[in-house]
């Protein structure tokens, strides 16, 4: 009986609850991160301006949305999809091709496009992209659910998706004319000067967190992730779970692809390999966010809220370093350090928490 004599019950203030629920190591790490953050914020000129804060969250949005999708896969104990950027690459080619396709222009030829015709073009392209992403996710999920090793399956799938995308586009940039129906998502803003992609990020983060906390599906994600065998024994099988979670991750990747294409009015299979974040590789960046958020690699522990906060955190550190004139090498180093640090801390904490009788 190694039961901690934790104070349980009602009247606890916030500090007592934090010290009860989290180990000193985690509290120390989060405090350290916060101190670095605050120090950086104070010492960096132009950091705490409205414009810069908007930029930070906006930068965090695209990788953040993908990381939220991937968090479902990780929490359900199915490790990572190493094909995130390839799913996005296939999706962006699909979306851009359909946006520019002759048959998908709904206005009368020669005339200026109306709102209706732009919306129809966008909806068809968007729907087709989502269908492709769903198939991509379901395929990987089914293979993982049948017992395939997630690393091998998703590495293989990555090659498959990238190959299809680059064959389809002849490895060229696919561009389409402005005005087009995706501008609102790529660069527009409905609420004041807050970009719509930022709003989408916030909405997706909230919906994902609520799903995990308050739905039967969310509970199943945690249970299957915590112990797959016990999940099967209590009627929650990983086969369906892997498919659902991979579809969620794929849809998030496809959504990001659509939003990005909307920004630049074009697509290329290499967009997500070179243009993203400090490390330059979308998949690595997304996995980094999930890890820095402290989600357990083995599944069953973590949340999308942590993932969202980690996305904003990494983005602000990156931004701070840019403003202070660090080159990209130093920024990659910083992200790497954060990952190593949080993995080590959370590994130590987990080892201590499961007592043996």
């Amino acid at each position: 009986m190694t039961d901690a004599t934790a104070p349980s019950g009602e009247a606890l203030n916030i500090i007592q609850r934090i010290t009860r629920d989290y180990s000193p190591l985690v509290i120390a790490m989060v405090s350290l991160f916060l101190i670095v953050f605050v120090a950086g914020a104070v010492l960096t000129d132009d950091f705490l301006t409205w414009f810069n804060v908007k930029t930070i969250i906006r930068d965090a949005a695209l990788v953040g949305i993908m990381a939220i999708g991937l968090t479902f896969v990780t929490l359900s104990g199915n490790f990572f999809l190493l094909s995130m950027k390839e799913i996005a690459a296939l999706s962006i080619i699909c979306f851009a091709t359909l946006m520019g396709a002759e048959w998908n222009q709904w206005g009368s030829p020669g005339a200026d496009p109306t709102t209706y015709s732009l919306a129809m073009t966008f909806l068809v392209a968007f729907a087709a992209t989502m269908v492709i992403a769903t198939i991509a996710g379901a395929l990987q999920g089914a293979l993982i659910g049948l017992g395939g090793n997630p690393i091998v399956v998703t590495l293989g799938a990555a090659g498959l998706f990238f190959g299809i995308g680059s064959w389809w586009s002849d490895n060229l940039v696919v561009s389409y004319r402005r005005p087009h129906g995706a501008e609102w998502l790529g660069t527009g803003s409905f609420i004041g000067d807050i970009p719509n992609i930022t709003v989408a990020f916030v909405i997706i983060a909230i919906v994902a967190e609520l799903t995990l906390r308050y739905t039967t599906f969310g509970r199943q994600v945690y249970l299957v992730g915590a112990n797959r065998a016990a999940g099967r024994a209590t009627g929650h099988e990983n086969f369906g779970m892997a498919i659902k979670c991979c579809i969620i991750a794929s849809l998030c990747a496809a959504f990001v692809a659509v939003a990005f294409s909307g920004q630049v009015s074009s697509a290329h299979v290499n967009y997500f390999s070179s243009e993203f974040g400090s490390s330059g590789d979308m998949t690595i960046m997304v996995i980094a966010i999930v890890m820095v958020g402290g989600n357990s690699i083995m599944g069953g522990y973590g949340s999308t809220l942590r993932t969202s906060l980690a996305a904003v955190f990494i983005s602000s550190i990156d931004n701070m370093m840019v403003l202070n004139g660090f080159n990209s090498g130093a920024r990659v180093l910083a992200v790497g350090l954060m990952i190593v640090f949080s993995i080590v801390v959370f590994a130590l904490v987990r080892r201590g928490s499961r007592s043996v009788e």
């Binding site: 901690a4 739905t215 249970l223 915590a226 099988e237 069953g300 928490s353 009788e357």
Partner: protein
């Protein structure tokens, strides 16, 4: 004691954070003595063993070995002076041969040694532990679990220890392998070695121990001669109060309409298809040693083990579940023998564990209802005497007994009418054990049909209303309540066809 004890610990205290694992406990063992170390889960047995073996050096108190004060910094140092410890978990490398495993540490053999040379050197140690018939060059993975435990001990003996600590050596073993372990302990004793024997099994303790040390809440009782005690007085010492009768009273069962008919069920590991009925209100016992096929039968009924064929007839419907989900939908609950593997979500709160099989009953259109979940899990927690205040805690922090109660208690959430339980009390202390028996009996009295498989001979004799016995995948026979004596059962599960000539009568308690 006239002679000075070989090993003596006095006034040992050890705390982990706020938890006081040992408070001023003492322990001693003489040369050539078998000392039993007993206590409930959490009484401090493991801590004591760790301190003796040098795994834990953050204690206060005196440690004398061979008349000298010692404070081992690591298990390696303790091993060098002659204290070896056989852990519950095996630490063999399954892909190496038996001989290679025995000389894994590499001492006593030249740097370059042929396999034949190792085999020759390993042979005497194998004979010592009663494995003379095993080829030392055999792959370790091909031995039974019991034999592997014996190989582990052979490896320790190769270091020529003076004190050997066996921590629950028979917890995972069937009756025949357990007897081998006990024989080995007796041989070691004859050769003047001291053995510390930690076990939950009362019958073994009384069979082989000279003296017994009882730990309770981190405090020790002075060792007493085993001959002066009986099971009841020992349990009383362990619990601090009298237990009364551990096994609840049986009520007469009217067997009219079976709750579940099993027909021609043929799981892997069973030689021929088997059929039997379970009636509402009874506890049916499946008796058999490890590997006799009882686990496979329960697993097959619950859909978690592969079957070659067969049908279940339950509430007028014929079916055979191919996955646990189908069995659960029919209202069949199955609690497996390994709660850490597939019985519990250790990292998740107790509340989530208790509601896991019945998420649809606590949710509306896919949304969880917090109040419904709290209400139903609190009710089940109270039934299983788990403190409802602990519901938000991780299941992993519970003691073994409480974990088993949660693993079993989660099935009440689906209101099952057939409950299959494999090894209901493995690794569970005496107090929780009695509670689990009471609960199972209570469920049966309310009309549930319960099937219990167990390798614990006391449990299988005293808990069920009826027994079906198995031997190496063959259904041996059925015993009605009047015929259920330990001797009868032991004969049926160890040697039903009188092939081995093991004298069974002497081993029945």
């Amino acid at each position: 004691m006239a002679a000075q004890p070989l090993l003596r610990l006095t006034n040992i205290s050890r705390h982990y954070g706020a938890i006081q694992a040992l408070r001023g406990a003492s322990f001693e063992i003489g040369r050539g003595e078998v000392m039993g170390l007993v206590g409930e889960n959490g009484a401090g047995k493991s801590t004591m063993v760790k301190i003796i073996g040098g795994f834990d050096h953050g204690f206060t108190g005196e440690y004398f070995y061979d008349g000298e004060v010692r404070h081992f910094k690591s298990p390696t140092v303790a091993e060098q002076v002659g204290i070896s410890i056989a852990q519950q978990e095996l630490s063999l490398i399954p892909t190496l041969s038996v001989a290679e495993n025995i000389f894994l540490a590499g001492d006593g053999v030249p740097v370059f040694a042929s396999r034949g040379y190792l085999a020759k050197k390993a042979k005497p140690f194998l004979e010592e532990v009663g494995l003379g018939h095993v080829d030392p060059l055999r792959n370790t993975a091909r031995l039974s679990v019991g034999e592997q435990h014996l190989v582990e001990v052979a490896r320790l003996i190769a270091h020529n220890p003076q004190v050997l600590i066996l921590d629950e050596p028979t917890a995972a073993l069937g009756e025949t392998d357990s007897i081998r372990i006990l024989d080995m302990v007796n041989r070691l004793k004859e050769r003047g070695k001291s053995v510390i024997y930690v076990s939950h099994r009362m019958d073994e303790i009384f069979k082989i121990c000279d003296r017994i040390t009882v730990l309770r809440d981190g405090e020790s009782q002075a060792p007493r001669a085993a001959a002066d005690m009986d099971v009841n007085s020992l349990v009383e010492l362990m619990l601090g109060f009298e237990l009364g009768d551990m096994y609840p009273k049986r009520k007469p069962v009217t067997r009219s309409a079976p709750a579940l008919k099993v027909r021609k069920l043929w799981p892997d590991g069973i030689l021929e298809p088997i059929s039997f009925d379970v009636y509402p209100g009874e506890i049916l016992g499946l008796a058999g040693q490890l590997g006799s096929g009882t686990s496979e039968i329960l697993g097959a009924i619950a859909g978690s083990t592969r079957t070659r064929g067969g049908t279940l007839n339950y509430k007028g419907k014929d079916f055979l579940p191919s996955r646990p989900k189908e069995a659960i939908e029919h209202g069949i609950a199955y609690c497996s023998e390994d709660r850490k593997y597939d019985g519990l979500f250790l990292g998740r709160p107790i509340m989530e564990n208790l509601s896991a099989p019945a998420l649809e009953t606590i949710s509306n259109r896919g949304f969880l209802s917090g109040s419904k979940e709290r209400a139903s899990t609190t009710e089940n927690a109270v039934k299983f005497t788990v403190d409802p205040k602990r519901l938000p805690q991780e299941a992993g922090v519970l003691s073994g007994g409480n974990q088993q109660k949660v693993a079993l208690g989660k099935w009440l959430s689906i209101s099952p009418e057939v409950i299959l339980v494999n090894e209901p009390t493995r690794g569970v202390d005496v107090g929780a054990r009695a509670e689990i028996y009471q609960i199972l009996r209570g469920l049966a009295d309310q009309g549930a049909a319960i099937v219990v498989a167990s390798t614990d001979i006391q449990e299988i004799t005293n808990l069920p209303d009826r027994i079906i016995s198995f031997y190496r995948g063959v259904l041996v026979g059925e015993l009605a309540l009047e015929e259920m004596t330990s001797a009868n059962i032991l004969e049926q599960i160890t040697d039903p066809f009188h092939e081995a000539g093991i004298a069974v009568s002497g081993k029945a308690s």
